[in-house]
């Protein structure tokens, strides 16, 4: 668990792939030895999920609910293996009890990537409503969270946030905004 002593690189090293957002996320996970990736899928996350499945470094699998994925990476952390959960905004909305009764009080560095729906061109009213609950929930638990909008900031925010989560033993939510990913639009 001596990740804190490792160097904090703000440069995407060789093997960073094609420079796409999902390639940067994958490489940053790998560099931080995060190998267990349970997820509930999202259209925008599809290229990331596909590439994670294709890379034998990662154990990548779908769960039925986001809570389940949080339980799995929490257990894995206690067993000495790092994980991260991938989900959509609406999935995050199912997590308040799990965050408040497991990740936060037990001081588990839960790393969450949330593909943000509900803003910047949302076509489903329910998605736009549930999106508005996400940051108030994060703020009410005083959880670290960042909304990533720029490709040139992605690697820095992700790498630093993972290291901070681990060293401070606190959850973090990295919100992947449509400005970064392109989001999901009605014609897709």
């Amino acid at each position: 668990m001596a990740i804190a002593e490792q160097q904090t690189s703000s440069q995407a090293g060789p093997g960073s792939g094609d420079g796409s957002w999902h390639s940067i996320v994958l490489q940053t996970l790998k560099r931080n030895e995060i190998s267990l990736i349970p997820y509930v899928p999202d259209r925008v996350l599809t290229p990331l999920i596909k590439n994670l499945h294709a890379d034998p470094f990662f154990t990548t699998f779908a769960t039925a609910r986001e809570e389940e994925a949080v339980g799995i990476v929490s257990g894995a952390w206690m067993g000495g293996r790092r994980g991260a959960v991938l989900m959509q905004t609406s999935g995050f909305a199912t997590l308040a009890n799990t965050l408040a009764s497991l990740a936060v009080p037990y001081q588990i560095p839960l790393i969450m990537f949330v593909s943000e729906r509900g803003t910047l061109g949302e076509f489903n009213y329910g998605q736009s409503l549930v999106c508005r609950t996400m940051r108030p929930v994060l703020d009410s638990l005083a959880l670290e969270h960042h909304t990533i909008t720029r490709l040139d900031e992605l690697e820095f925010i992700t790498d630093r946030s993972i290291k901070q989560a681990v060293t401070t033993q606190a959850p973090v939510a990295l919100i992947l905004n449509p400005l970064l990913t392109g989001g999901k639009t009605f014609d897709k």
Partner: protein, 198 residues
Amino acid sequence: MDTRNTKVMNRFDVTKRLIAKLKHEEAVIGGIGNTNFDLWAAGHRPQNFYMLGSMGLAFPIALGVALAQPDRRVFALEGDGSLLMQLGALSTIAALKPKNLIMIVMDNGIYQITGAQPTPAAGVADLVAIALASGLTNSAWAADEADFERLVDEAMSADEPSLIALRIDDKPGVGTTRRDPVQIRERFMHGLGVREPL
């Protein structure tokens, strides 16, 4: 339902029987409420983890431990009401097939701790049948205490995940877990050899 020939057992008694069998620092995850109260009352072990919320996550947490430490057997103790909250986890576990994971379901058909209200599954659904249909082929009801011990012995050397369900009575848990989540987590990590104490 396939439970009519199974004896009604006692949670604390069968928990003690299970703990007595653990000789290799096996991890044990106790689900919320009575399940972990009886785990606590059976005698604290460094490899015990006690949930204080997140109802339904005993099996997912145990799955995470099992994936992190494939050479260690990992037990999870869960109540029927808790399992009903997270039935999808059975399929996740069936898909991943961690051979070192052993799931134990304590089924009294009630939410004992909240006032003994019947669960929606009571008298209607068969949790072992659900587990089998979820892909957990090594799932069985324990007929009595001796059968439970036999099933645990089998599960210890199984090459696939195991689920053992028991019918239990309506008694409350015997002890009360000390509600100190940080210490519970930290000591569990020491017990699993992940960290050394300061």
